[in-house]
């Protein structure tokens, strides 16, 4: 009885493994994914270290909802706003997907800043990760540019005048400003081509740049590994058990851990 069960188990395992092995042998992709997902990280990495993944998730939400919105949106001055109204009020689920894209944009930006703050406060931008900080700043700038170009697309009064002001602010940059503004507008004034231009930049040009930059960012994260938090005893080369347990900064009394309960199992 037991023998047949394990025999069936072996067959099942073989059936599952066969396509994976087939793929792995020809592409190495299974090993690659395992390397990416199961790489070692410092033992004391914390929830703060998840802000980067959260930002990536927010970006993926923007990608998916944006692609779907593009199925219904019409980037022409005469139709843009009515197509947004159509998405919002007539189509099934349109309000939800557009809401996800609209609010998700703010979430993406906020998470980027929080992730940046974590990296700064943990000192994770230092050698050898300076280049990844620079790539991160480029991601921030392109992300903000996504916000700027996306803001015009509903094409209501707020969108129009906010874009007028934003483009004119770009126009005050020394020397290149007037030309930059003309390139952004596709003319001397906001005209019939400006909306489609912003739409193309918003959904093709800048997302492409963002995907490339995020790929580079992740490559550097995997290559260099992530940092321990600044309070890490392990990274400081101190054996955890030689030290008294970390003092908790309770307002009134130290927490139970500080009173003698060890946080880590003894090795």
């Amino acid at each position: 009885m037991a023998a047949t069960k394990s025999e069936r188990g072996d067959k099942l395992q073989a059936a599952v493994m066969y396509p994976l092995d087939w793929l792995e042998e020809r592409s190495g992709i299974v090993g690659g994914i395992r390397y990416f997902l199961f790489r070692n990280v410092p033992r004391d990495s914390s929830w703060w270290h998840t802000l980067g993944s959260a930002t990536l998730t927010a970006f993926l939400v923007q990608l998916v909802t944006g692609v779907i919105l593009a199925m219904y949106y019409k980037p022409s001055p005469a139709e843009a706003h009515s197509s947004i109204e159509h998405i919002q009020h007539d189509l099934w689920g349109g309000w939800l997907v557009r809401g996800m894209h609209r609010w998700g944009a703010s979430v993406f930006i906020i998470l980027m800043f929080m992730h940046m703050g974590r990296v700064f406060l943990f000192g994770a931008y230092k050698y050898p990760r300076e280049l990844n900080w620079i790539v991160g700043v480029l991601i921030l700038a392109t992300g903000l540019f996504e916000g700027l170009t996306g803001y015009l697309l509903p094409f209501d009064q707020t969108a129009y005048w906010a874009t007028v002001v934003a483009v004119n602010i770009n126009g005050t940059a020394p020397f290149v400003g007037p030309y930059l503004a003309t390139v952004l507008r596709g003319g001397a004034e906001i005209g019939p081509d400006t909306l489609a231009r912003f739409y193309s930049i918003h959904m093709l040009l800048v997302p492409g740049a963002l995907i490339a930059l995020i790929g580079l960012h992740l490559y550097l994260v995997v290559r260099l590994g992530i940092t321990s938090p600044p309070w890490s005893k392990e990274a400081a080369g101190v054996e955890p058990d030689d030290e008294p347990p970390p003092a908790r900064s309770g307002l009134v009394q130290p927490g139970p851990r500080a009173a003698g309960v060890r946080r880590r199992p003894t090795e």
Binding site: A78, Y127, W161, V165, G171, F175, G177, P178, A188, E189
Partner: protein, 300 residues
């Protein structure tokens, strides 16, 4: 810095506090730019001093540890071989050919993306209807489509006043409502008589004419820029006065032409002396040292 044997960590300059002072100086400089020049000057001085100290700290050490010059001189001569081998020719040819193909594909696409905005920017003259709709010395808000084929994105507003005859020709003041700060629409500082609104049919579509009494000049709702009735800046962030339209009288009708920027208007009405310059974008200085930052304007 002491050299320990077997120490393969990167040799970094020791931590220094100068960047902190430099940052404080930069912050002080930026705050000063907003609130007052002396604060900015103090900030710049602090930033300069600390920046110098920091730079000296960072650059001072490696030069001390630089290899002695005779070591460089002792480097071996490059090995002399075939002067231009075949593999190098093929390598260069591949890269060069790739670059040519890349340029053939990229340049027209980039040109198509960037150049049309600078070319064929034809000005649209706008017919605002018979001048009998504009009583002498009365202000009107005139709303029209600059480009009748694209009325959605070319609706513009001008403030128009008939100044009466000057040398037998009707004189008009035609002020654009685009604020010289960042381009919001300025509003008249006074009552708008909406019930006397009038629509004039022209070749250029419907032109809306509304009487107005801008007793307090023109005020921008966005950031509070304010202008007098001639469009001179009185207060707020704008860098110059309001732009104006060229105009022409053809068969008794008022025709608007191109926009131009104005440095200063002295006097008022038909005897006003207007210092014209080429049209500048909002927020771009047209006179003074700041105007050197915008030496060339793209075609409008």
């Amino acid at each position: 810095m002491e050299e320990r044997p077997g120490d393969d960590r990167q040799q970094l300059p020791p931590p220094s506090l100068w960047p902190v002072g430099f940052a404080v100086g930069v912050v002080c400089l930026l705050v000063g730019l907003v609130i007052s020049w002396p604060v900015a000057a103090i900030g710049a001085a602090i930033a300069l001093v600390f920046g110098f100290l920091w730079a000296r700290d960072v650059t001072g050490r490696p030069t001390a540890a630089a290899p002695p010059p005779d070591e460089a001189a002792a480097r071996p001569e490059p090995v002399t071989g075939e002067r231009f081998p075949r593999s190098r020719f093929l390598e260069g040819a591949t890269l060069g050919l790739g670059a040519v193909i890349g340029a053939i594909v990229t340049l027209p696409a980039a040109g198509f993306a960037l150049l049309p905005g600078f070319l064929k920017q034809k000005a649209h003259n706008v017919d605002l209807g018979p001048i009998s709709d504009f009583e002498e010395n009365k202000w009107k808000i005139v709303t029209f489509a600059r480009d009748v084929t694209n009325p959605n994105v070319s609706r513009r507003t001008a403030f128009v006043r008939n100044n009466g005859l000057l040398d037998g020709v009707p004189s008009f003041t035609v002020i654009s409502n685009r604020c010289a700060h960042v381009g919001c629409p300025v509003q008249p500082g006074g009552p708008v008589f909406e019930k006397d609104e009038k629509t004039v049919k022209t070749d250029n579509g419907d032109v809306l004419i509304t009487p107005v009494l801008p007793a307090a000049g023109f005020i921008c709702p966005c950031h509070g820029g304010s202008y007098d009735q001639e469009g001179n800046r009185i207060a707020g962030p704008p860098v110059r006065g309001l732009d104006r339209y060229e105009f022409d009288i053809v068969n008794g009708r008022l025709i608007l032409g191109d926009l131009y920027s104005v440095l200063k208007v002295e006097g008022s009405g038909k005897t006003a002396k207007i210092e014209k310059v080429e049209l500048h974008g909002p927020g771009q200085h047209a006179d003074g040292p700041e105007s050197w930052l915008y030496p060339l304007q793209p075609p409008h």
